[in-house]
Symmetry: C2
Subunit: 223 residues, 2 copies
DNA sequence: GTGTAATTTGACCAAATGGTCAAGATGCAA
DNA sequence: TTGCATCTTGACCATTTGGTCAAATTACAC
């Protein structure tokens, strides 16, 4: 679990949480994700998070020492799952299949956890006050490593010349766009990723465009 | 100028503004863009906007009747310039050149007005409370019109089959990403679009990938 | 210069909100 | 049942903040 440099322990008996604690912390984190992703850090209120979690504000503050502590915990909770797909990019695989799989995972994420995407986007747009060290550390290392993988594919003549980092950015941009701007997309098309047809159509469009863009052909998909 | 359905007039003598009015409203809108784009609507404070505009909070509220009024005015002020590039897509032009020009304009925007991009992103991510009618109205019509243009190119065999709306989304996503996530990009690469080399590199990457993606070749660029 | 309208501000208010605290309720091991 | 630790809450507080208002200052037409 990536550390966000927490200070207070927030955990009476360190290590094992009681059933009540486990349940309540989980309820709080769910409610917090919903609230923070919709309103941003400033716009969110502890009172509303507590209400959505089904408890009093005082009780929530018994579990998390401050609004910022809830926010940090929510971010940490998400970050892992959010960055996981990139880690699966396999140097031993075929570029077309690997990239297609990565794109699909990212779209899947946008469809399944749009709130996580929005929370992350919000945090970064505010200047990444909490996660900047992670971006500059773990994430930077991860991107370097996977860029190397892509560069090797290029050097092996398996795909067209392209800046690997820029390619990763473009995959992030296109896939996350559908979560972060889902309201706009719904306003313009009447649909969003929760519609299976639109999901499929989006996956095909992005995958085709990006793979063609780097001189590859989309692999046959066996759902 | 796109209307945001303003209620109060905010303009004593309708039509012509005094020199003082013009100057102060402009100062306020600049400060507001800076503040709102960095902190979002909730996180922004009228006091800080006033300070950045070099006047008292009371005086600012003499020009705009409420925080929301400033916000709406700021959005309206941006929206026009923000959506302008798409309007220039010329049905009579060559697809490769037209799309390349559009992409370049969008990146230029992201480089020149990253704050505008972030303000817009913020507004949409919060559910577009102010601009939803515009998205569903003017913007939707504009996108339909330009999708038609792209579809005609496809039908004429000038470019590969692709959903025109999805193509537009992908251009938005990739170009705006560099403004909205500039902190992340700086954390990962050490650079952003304000660096001419990185700008050029980004423009080339995006243009090449998208044009290749739709079966076109990037036109020679004559800067 | 005079007078009126426009501009500017500090003092002030009410609501919202993050957080504290002491007291009470509940869970649970013995 | 008893006793203690955990859990829960309402009352309360300090600060922030959007907005009002009357008074003061300034711009400008005559």
């Amino acid at each position: 679990m990536m550390s966000l440099g927490g200070q207070a322990s927030d955990t009476p008996k360190n290590g094992g949480l009681s059933r009540i604690q486990e349940r309540n912390r989980s309820l709080i984190l769910d409610a917090a994700l919903s609230e923070f992703s919709r309103k941003g850090f400033s716009g969110a209120t502890v009172e509303r998070i507590a209400a959505e979690a089904g408890m009093s504000k005082s009780n929530l503050l018994y579990y998390f020492s401050s609004k910022e502590a809830i926010y940090k915990a929510t971010l940490a909770h998400i970050l892992e799952v959010w960055l996981a797909p990139l880690k699966t990019l396999d140097p031993g695989g075929e570029p077309a299949r690997e990239l297609a799989a990565y794109i699909r995972q990212k779209i899947e994420m946008s469809a399944t956890f749009p709130e996580a995407s929005r929370l992350f986007a919000n945090e970064v747009m505010q200047g990444a006050p909490q996660i900047l060290p992670i971006l500059e550390g773990d994430l930077r290392r991860l991107v370097s490593e996977k860029s190397r993988v892509i560069q090797d594919w290029i050097d092996a003549g398996k795909m067209r010349q392209v800046d690997p980092v820029q390619l990763i950015f473009m995959i992030w941009a296109t896939t996350q766009h559908y979560a972060d701007f889902s309201i706009q997309i719904r306003a313009l098309t009447g649909k969003d990723l929760s519609d299976p047809v639109f999901f499929k159509e989006t996956e095909t469009s992005i995958t085709t465009l990006i793979l063609n863009g780097v001189g590859l052909t989309a692999p046959g998909n066996d759902d």
